[in-house]
């Protein structure tokens, strides 16, 4: 799927929508301010200090004056317009989130249907009786089976995408990896001491795990519920994979080759 300018525009709009949702109540105040700026440009420079002082005041007092309003707005907006929020969020972390929700819901209903059918299959019934697996557990395990949705290999500081594998075409992968890195930089800068890395981003049942290495990090988006076995297996795969790519660093400079290695070692391996 190609990323047409129209798609970009749509995504841009969604992004603005998120801002809109978050800042709606303050939008008017911002508008008033920007009008003031325009006015001032027309009037003369003598009002400059006044407006600057006002802007400063607004910036400084913003959390105090509007914090509560924003929190309330976010709460109601999220409650009242979940679809829009998901839509607005989706350009930020790519299609990941929206897709995950859709996929999860679909998978869940598919799997429930399947499981129901299976429960009535005598062959399965006896098989489970013999192996001792509880009917309900088995059905649940199937329904929430973890799935690797997206794998990104990203250069650590710059956020440049070195290689990736997605189950579906993500519109702008470079932007996704850039934004992911920006979120990571922000979180690390704001909340942690030097040398600590952000390792997890969670959204409902969707989970992005970041495996940090010296010059790169690997972001893996997983939907479904991760069991210990699954995590352990994934850790092993990552270990093998990184051993191979770090053994010859030119692997990191060749996107095609890297993508092939991802499939071989992380998907199939």
């Amino acid at each position: 799927m190609k990323n047409s300018p129209q798609d970009n525009l749509k995504k841009e709009n969604r992004f603005e929508l998120l801002r809109e949702l978050l800042l709606e109540d303050d939008r008017e105040k911002f508008n008033a301010l920007s009008e003031e700026i325009v006015m001032r440009e027309k009037v003369a420079s003598r009002v400059d200090p006044l407006i600057d002082a006002k802007l400063n005041e607004l910036r400084e007092n913003f959390p105090v004056e509007f914090g509560e309003v924003i929190t309330d707005t976010i709460k109601t907006q999220i409650r009242d317009s979940q679809d829009e929020v998901v839509d607005a969020l989706y350009p930020i972390i790519g299609k990941l989130i929206k897709k995950a929700i859709v996929v999860e819901i679909k998978k869940l209903s598919d799997n429930i249907n399947k499981s129901v059918k299976r429960t009535f299959s005598f062959k399965d019934y006896f098989k489970r009786k013999v192996s001792g697996v509880n009917e309900g557990d088995a059905a649940l395990q199937d329904a929430f089976k973890p799935v690797l949705e997206e794998i990104f290999i990203i250069e650590k500081n710059s956020g440049i995408l070195l290689g990736n594998r997605s189950t579906e075409n993500i519109a702008n992968k470079d932007m996704v990896s850039g934004m992911l890195t920006a979120i990571k930089s922000f979180a690390e800068d704001a909340f942690s001491k030097e040398g600590q890395d952000l390792e997890d981003i969670k959204f409902e049942t969707f989970h992005i795990t970041l495996y940090n290495f010296n010059t790169i990090y690997i972001a893996i988006a997983i939907s479904g519920v991760q069991t210990l076995d699954f995590k352990e297996e994934l850790n092993n795969k990552i270990h093998n994979f990184t051993e191979i790519i770090f053994d010859n660093r030119s692997n990191l400079e060749n996107e095609k080759k890297l993508n092939k290695l991802i499939v071989e070692h992380l998907i199939e391996g």
Binding site: F30, N157, S158, L161, D174, G178
Partner: protein, 161 residues
């Protein structure tokens, strides 16, 4: 294709987002929607020899002595400092601000852009240029699409050095 991370910094409201929008989508809007955090856009440009993919980090504007988090500069190959020709407080400390950007980023050269040319008369611009103590690489207008392409081209070239 080579990819490079480049950064736009400067006081709030100087037109960083507008320059990027003009460059990437060839659009302009009078609305001011202040950037929250960072926003990353991409655009492929042609240099003399090859295609170059720019990952453009649009960083939320700073104010006075505020600085951009150092983490944002990591891995950046070039940076652009934008000021607003029509607002003195966005360039009054320009020497200090650019030194700060150099220090945080470890970059030797910063592309310096004076934006909103359309709001200035020739006389006013002349007086301003006398006052500003740094070399301005381009005087731009995101609104009227003046020198925007060239400014980013220079940024791209610097990212390859």
């Amino acid at each position: 294709m080579i990819s490079k991370k480049v950064l736009l910094v400067g006081n709030f409201g100087v037109g960083k987002t507008s320059l990027i929008r003009r460059f990437v989508h060839n659009e302009f809007s009078e609305d001011y929607i202040s950037t929250i955090g960072v926003r990353v856009s991409t655009k492929v440009i042609q240099t003399n020899k090859e295609s170059l993919k720019l990952l453009i980090w649009d960083v939320a504007g700073t104010n006075g002595d505020q600085t951009v988090p150092k983490a944002y500069f990591l891995g950046a190959s070039a940076a652009m400092f934008v000021f607003d020709l029509s607002r003195e407080e966005t360039y009054i400390n320009i020497v200090k601000q650019i030194d700060m950007v150099k220090e945080l980023s470890g970059l030797k050269n910063i592309v310096v852009i004076g934006n909103k040319r359309d709001l200035m008369t020739a006389d006013k611009l002349h007086i301003l240029l006398e006052k500003v103590d740094v070399t301005i690489d381009f005087i731009t207008s995101a609104k009227e699409n003046e020198n925007v392409e060239d400014a980013f081209k220079l940024l791209g070239q610097q990212s390859l050095k």
